[in-house]
Symmetry: C2
Subunit: 258 residues, 2 copies
């Protein structure tokens, strides 16, 4: 792959691994916009948040290449993959980092656990315009067709109007037929968390182990300006997400306590 000066260079990653249907759909769409480099893990990295691989080395393998496309397998997390691509593989800073399409919602507090959104946040830290896409369905055979036009719309905007530094987008798409989606809602992250999170079992030796499980609880289901509300009401939610986790509004109060 040769990247010309005028080419748009797009880095694609995800957290569901190389063989996920969402990655394939996203790659197909992004080829319409420029030269594409894909880096993804050989296994699922779902729920890996912005984890780094520090205790073992990272391996990367070029799997396929043509004039406008390259795909790498990476042994590390989505965040490792973005760092490795930027520092070792791409040759120049990409114009856009696109992560997903995640199998399952990353709305509300899921943004904190999501490997998909972590990849976008990592792009952000490098000052690169970045976006994560998620479909609100955990089915491996989910229908991603409704996502396509919304992804085109968001990426066309981002390629010509880059985001401010330190901000990326978290785009969640309802699992509905294309005709039933009502459009895009710019939203904020809903307040919520996961409940009753463990299933306790005994192994054949009689020892206890736990599976992480549970259900998401929206703490403000009536709030119409949230990503959860948008998603539950048939809209694509677009949340601007910041790498700055400071609770700025609480700084002055906190100063009075010390």
């Amino acid at each position: 792959m040769i990247i010309e000066e005028n080419d748009k260079l797009i880095l694609i990653t995800n957290d569901d691994g190389l063989y996920a249907a969402g990655l394939k759909t996203l790659t197909g769409i992004m080829k319409e916009f420029g030269k594409v480099v894909v880096i993804s893990a050989t296994e699922s990295m779902s729920g890996m948040s912005q984890a780094l691989t520090v205790k073992e080395p990272i391996r990367v393998k070029l799997l396929d290449e043509d004039d406008s496309y390259r795909i790498y397998a990476c042994s590390g997390t989505p965040t490792d993959g973005v760092k490795l691509a930027i520092n070792q593989l791409l040759g120049r800073v990409p114009d856009l980092i696109v992560s997903g399409i995640n199998h399952g919602s990353n709305a509300s507090a899921s943004v904190l656990y999501s490997g998909t959104m972590a990849a976008a946040l990592e792009g952000c830290l490098y000052g690169i315009t970045s976006v994560g896409f998620s479909l609100n369905s955990y089915s491996p055979a989910a229908d991603f067709s409704a996502c396509e036009d919304y992804i085109r719309k968001v990426c066309r905007m981002l390629l010509f109007e880059p985001l401010p530094k330190g901000i990326c987008l978290n785009v969640n798409i309802p699992a509905l037929p294309p005709g039933e989606i009502k459009g895009i809602r710019v939203a904020r992250q809903a307040k919520g968390n996961w409940q009753e999170e463990f299933e306790k079992r005994k192994d054949p030796m009689g020892k206890t182990y736990y599976w992480l499980t549970g259900y998401f609880k929206n703490h403000e289901p009536e709030a119409e300006d949230t990503d959860e509300w948008a998603l539950q009401n048939g809209f694509v939610s677009v949340v601007p997400v910041t790498t700055d986790m400071t609770a700025h509004g609480y700084i002055d109060t906190l100063k009075t306590k010390f």
Copy 2:
């Protein structure tokens, strides 16, 4: 351990594992305030961010117990440990979650990768007052004595004035002798990221592998209201950290683009 109604119940965790000196120091201090339950990983979970263990089951083992103290080993990440303690082990909601003392700074963008701060953020999602403490030294033999009085001061405040829901504290302590620390500065997260992040090597079979490495770059070294500035200038930095990653200030601009 029996927890009486009037006891303060404190959950302690970290990301450097059960045998870290920082965990030992923190546990010693927290015993002054109430009943203490410690849960930590058998191995280091440094750089694990808010990762969840979803592909394998989680094991937990009670290692030691007396009238006012219990310690568990957990096979999962710091976030798993907090979830497991709250849902399965504690019997009631703790009054405070304390994470650390981390071996190494979690100021600036490190908050995004930190397992220590992820544990505090997880506490936050449950509405529990939570704080992460870090010492700005990676040495396993670091001297934690200067941390003690600052930890007491912060935890005394938090036990009697809980934080607003969705906000936890990121406390970073300079690696200085006690007498040289200038006091506490409430601060915001500095803008910065990690640079030149990989060391490329060949294995004995001639195949390439990478170690994640590099150095932190502060993008705003002159800004005196940041955690990095405080830490570099001999102050303990205290940043209020939010679980809400929405870039609220950009929502109206983003609405004009769709």
